[in-house]
């Protein structure tokens, strides 16, 4: 393909996992049609304007008055319909396929990582391992990872192009995505949905490690990393730029932002820029919740399944 022919491959054309590969297959399938359509229409276009251009020697030529041709018009209505069908079928297949763990790794039990985006950082919680990282995520290669996505504030989009497509993170909502890395390696991930001043820096790295290295890393973190406290977590939610950080314990013990009735954690006064300041509305109810963390536990019983898939 033209796009992947050059030696420095474009990231979308250089998939490192099954999800990205499925999408690339679909893209390549569509490109074939697009190239054929493009060549055909441009060919016709060049032919027509060359052949029927005004020249001094056809000065007296009076073009015929033709209203149209039912036959031709039928053809160029029917052809696009066929093309649309040819594109729809694999699209629908892929869309459904991406919602499930990859078939190639069906024998492996997926691990779960909760992703929480905040301004302007990515927080990764490993509920099974009981650790939390900021702005980087380590995963075992060859094991499907179920990312549970939510946001502590603005709407953002979680994207690791080498491994697969993207999905939004939204406050009080949970979306899900399966990503798998075939081989160990480092991949860049980022937010693609604009969310203010710090948007450009909202990148993170995904490092796929050999399963045994992953286990070793988890153990190492548990031995050496500081414990995540509630106070520390609240400071993470403030609009700041951070480097990589690692903690023992996850914030899920206090709040899961993916739950419909989790509290609101906003700091409007930290977002002021130049210009006239408008009135900030204080919301009593949410203030109570964000300061009184015990309130969070009441939500434990609420049904999270209802929100997922929105």
């Amino acid at each position: 393909m033209l796009l992947s022919g050059c030696d420095g491959k474009l990231v979308v054309f250089d998939p490192k996992g099954p999800a990205a590969r499925d999408i690339l297959d679909l893209i390549n399938w569509s490109l074939v049609f697009m190239v054929v359509i493009f060549v055909f229409v441009i060919g016709l276009f060049v032919f027509v304007i060359w052949k029927y251009r005004a020249r001094p020697d056809n000065d007296g030529y009076e073009p015929p008055e033709e209203h149209g041709s039912t036959k031709l018009e039928m053809i160029w209505t029917a052809l696009p319909i066929v093309i649309v069908i040819a594109l729809t079928i694999p699209t629908v297949k892929t869309v459904y396929g991406l919602e499930k763990p990859p078939a190639e790794y069906a024998d492996k039990e997926p691990i779960v990582i909760n992703v929480t985006s905040a301004d302007w950082k990515w927080i990764f919680s490993y509920p099974e391992q009981g650790i939390e990282t900021v702005n980087y995520v380590n995963i075992p290669a060859g094991t499907p990872v179920q990312f549970k996505l939510t946001s502590a504030g603005t709407m953002q989009s979680f994207w690791v192009p080498a491994l697969g497509g993207q999905k939004y993170t939204m406050n009080k909502m949970e979306t899900e995505m399966y990503l798998t890395a075939d081989q160990p390696g480092e991949f860049l991930g980022r937010n693609t949905n604009f969310n203010g001043r710090g948007y450009a820096d909202m990148e993170f790295t995904v490092e796929a490690k050999k399963p045994e290295d992953f286990e070793k890393w988890v153990k190492e973190v548990k031995d050496t990393a500081p414990k995540l406290t509630e106070k520390k977590y609240l400071s993470l939610l403030k609009p700041t730029h951070l480097g990589r950080e690692t903690y023992v314990g996850t914030h899920l013990q206090w709040v899961d932002h993916g739950k419909m009735n989790s509290g609101t954690y906003t700091n409007p006064e930290l977002y002021e820029v130049h210009g006239v300041k408008g009135k900030i509305f204080k919301d009593e109810e949410s203030k109570d919740k964000s300061t009184n963390m015990d309130g969070m536990n009441m939500d434990e019983n609420s049904d999270g399944g209802e929100q997922s898939g929105h």
């Binding site: 796009l3 990205a20 999408i23 893209i27 569509s30 359509i37 493009f38 229409v41 441009i42 276009f45 304007i49 029927y52 251009r53 005004a54 073009p63 008055e65 209203h67 149209g68 041709s69 031709l72 018009e73 160029w76 209505t77 696009p80 649309v84 594109l87 729809t88 699209t91 869309v95 991406l98 996505l149 504030g153 603005t154 709407m155 989009s157 697969g164 497509g165 993207q166 999905k167 939004y168 909502m173 693609t192 949905n193 604009f194 203010g196 948007y199 450009a200 906003t266 409007p268 820029v273 130049h274 210009g275 006239v276 408008g278 009135k279 919301d283 109810e285 949410s286 898939g309 929105h310």
Partner: protein, 659 residues
């Protein structure tokens, strides 16, 4: 109401300071010039109070060109900032404001007025009407649009610009994350302009349905009239959604409600849905009239009638219906589930079917024709390959699973610039070169026109083609910078160079307007292109009453038929009757000002003051209700005089049918 003057006027940025000085100087300059030339009365009588659709059209076009300049400068600033990695030309906050205003201004305050302006000038002439159905309402539309546009434009010098993107997604656009008043400008200014647009839509629907010349059935209407009619129908169906969404946004931001906020049970996804329920049809509102212009230009310069007129009409109606059923494709990545994404993939791809039909019809209109490469025609020709690229990448984006990799990247940005620039900007240029002689009685210079054309189309492709590849390599939109290690630098630089070429093209166009106004030949006929539709049957520029005697329409391409059969081209004295015309009114201008003041006060959250100013709106409505002015009659003598001035020349020395 404590006003902090330091905050009110944005200070401390040399770019903004420069603009403030430039704005001040140009205002002083304009006031001084008008006073020196003693043109204040003329300005008031001929322009500010006019209800003539032709003058309103010209004012729309003038405003549109100005706004295109403003939006273009925003675009250039973005290109300068991203030309090198880690550039420090703009900081993140400033860049965010610039791309937000670029988007809003280009779509709502440049594309819309340019198209509505051309519609205003051309449609009543094309259907043989004396004016639009509600001339004073038409003036109100313009002044509301202008008031909204000005209010939006002052934001960067007074109070702070909107900075949440042109789609203003919540919760970012709410007070929780953008507590400044910048986004109040978005909510209020667009609302005011939107009321104007909605009124325009209603006006054009009634005009086209009720005021066509005798014999012009629906299926004998010129294609531009058809597409504008359908665009007006979409305006009336889609704009109310935006009106409501903006009203809820205003309530959230200024009065503390919780429609879209995080707290208090607000639903940010609701804004996204409402926005695109308007936003996607909006794309077709701007692109359909443009399709109509291309149809007129291609038919005229191929010397042939439009191929497949009926299927063209059906495909326009089809596009309009589908346009309301595709909004979810803007957020396939929201996780609505595979079923929803599949349905919206299909509806979106279906739009390619009627659009393909139109493409082939244009190509077959040219086939067997005699194609003349006038500047207007060059724009229409360049549209075909460029828009084709926009179209096929659109189908690629419509495939929801693939969209997971394209979404919010520069691939998407390249795609919609490849639809909107060829689809709208090329069309506006084609339309302006084509109808300029009808509007001003002289043509735009063809040589400068061709320089403009080549610079602009080459610049456009150089700017946006690299962005497809950047997007596929993981470069995202709206990011004010990127790292050197990303490897994006070379393509970004190419894109920035393209933007400079693009800007030179636009500068050539502006110079062409100036040059042609001063030096172009005035001695041209009323039909310089040997055209096909009724607007060319009357004088250039068209007299204020449009037609001394409204022609009777027998076929499609009515004027072509008249020329071929030598019917109705001459006018005898006894055919001339008195013409009833509407009177000028200062009320629409007043309403524009009072809406602007009310809006300004509301933006600054001075609610009581805004309420007081709003009383002025009610007063305007009351005055209008007791307005019994029934217009005036143009005397037969005056019509005879006007008609003689352009009909008597016997074609001597008049340049007709210049190619």
């Amino acid at each position: 109401m404590d006003i902090n003057w330091h905050d009110l006027f944005i200070v401390g940025n040399p770019l903004i300071l420069g603009s403030q000085i430039a704005i001040l100087l140009s205002v002083i300059g304009i006031v001084a010039l008008l006073t020196y030339l003693k043109r204040w009365k003329w300005l008031w009588r001929e322009w500010l109070t006019t209800v003539d659709h032709k003058k309103i059209g010209i004012m729309y076009i003038l405003a549109g060109v100005l706004m295109f300049f403003r939006g273009g400068v925003d675009g250039l600033m973005m290109k300068a900032q991203t030309s090198r990695p880690e550039m420090n030309f703009l900081d993140a906050q400033h860049y965010n404001e610039v791309f937000t205003t670029h988007g809003v201004i280009m779509i709502l305050f440049a594309a819309m007025p340019l198209l509505i302006g051309i519609m205003n000038y051309v449609i009543p002439l094309q259907i043989g009407a004396r004016d639009v159905a509600f001339p004073q309402l038409n003036a109100l539309s313009f002044w509301l649009f202008f008031s909204g546009a000005m209010l939006f434009n002052i934001s960067f010098v007074i109070g702070g610009s909107p900075d949440a993107g042109w789609a203003a997604y919540f919760p970012l656009a709410g007070k929780e994350f953008t507590p400044g008043i910048g986004n109040n400008y978005y909510a209020v200014a667009i609302q005011i302009a939107g009321i104007g647009t909605l009124i325009s839509g209603i006006n054009f629907i009634v005009t086209i349905l009720k005021m066509r010349a005798k014999g012009m059935t629906l299926m004998k209407m010129p294609m531009f009239t058809w597409t504008s009619f359908i665009a007006s129908v979409i305006i009336v169906s889609a704009f109310p959604i935006f009106t409501v969404a903006l009203a809820l946004m205003t309530l959230d931001r200024i009065f503390g409600t919780h429609f879209f906020t995080l707290s208090g049970g607000g639903m940010d996804m609701m804004w996204v849905n409402l926005f695109w329920l308007w936003g996607h049809p909006e794309v077709y509102i701007v692109v359909l009239p443009a399709f109509g212009m291309f149809s007129e230009v291609i038919a005229t310069f191929s010397r042939k009638m439009l191929f497949g007129y009926k299927s063209m009409v059906f495909s326009v109606v089809g596009i309009a219906l589908l346009s309301m059923l595709v909004w979810v494709h803007h957020f396939f990545t929201m996780g609505a589930g595979p079923a929803v994404n599949s349905v919206f993939s299909i509806t979106t791809m279906m739009i390619a079917i009627p659009t393909g039909v139109k493409m082939f019809n244009w190509l077959f209109t040219m086939r067997k024709g005699r194609i003349e490469f006038s500047t207007a025609m060059l724009w229409a020709l360049a549209f075909i390959p460029c828009f084709l690229i926009g179209g096929i990448t659109g189908v690629m984006l419509a495939m929801s699973a693939a969209d997971y990799q394209y979404h919010n990247t520069l691939f998407l940005v390249a795609h919609f610039h490849y639809t909107l620039i060829p689809g709208v900007v090329f069309a506006v240029f084609a339309g302006l070169y084509y109808w300029w002689p009808k509007m001003f009685g002289h043509m735009l210079n063809e040589k400068l026109g061709k320089i403009h054309f080549w610079l602009f189309t080459i610049g456009f492709n150089v700017t946006f083609m690299p962005m497809f590849f950047l997007g596929l390599d993981g470069a995202v939109r709206r990011s004010y910078t990127y790292s050197a290690e990303s490897g994006f630098a070379p393509l970004f630089l190419v894109s920035a160079i393209g933007a400079v070429i693009l800007a030179l093209g636009f500068a050539t166009f502006c110079y062409n307007i100036y040059w042609s106004a001063r030096y172009a030949d005035r001695n041209i006929s009323n039909d310089p292109w040997n055209a096909r539709t009724l607007e060319w049957a009357t004088a250039s520029p068209a007299p204020f009453y449009n037609f001394a005697k409204v022609p009777e329409v027998k076929t499609l391409d009515a004027f072509w038929y008249m020329k071929k059969h030598n019917e109705g081209l001459t006018l005898s004295d006894d055919e001339i009757k008195e013409i009833h015309m509407p009177s000028n009114s200062g009320l629409p201008f007043y309403m524009g000002i009072i809406f602007g003041i009310t809006g300004f006060l509301l933006v600054f959250e001075w609610k009581l003051a805004a309420l007081v100013a709003a009383v002025g709106i009610i007063i305007g409505l009351i005055i209008r209700s007791f307005d019994y002015n029934d217009g005036f009659h143009v005397t037969v003598d005056e019509i005879k005089e006007t008609e003689k001035s352009w009909r008597s020349s016997d074609g001597k020395g008049v340049k007709n049918h210049v190619g």
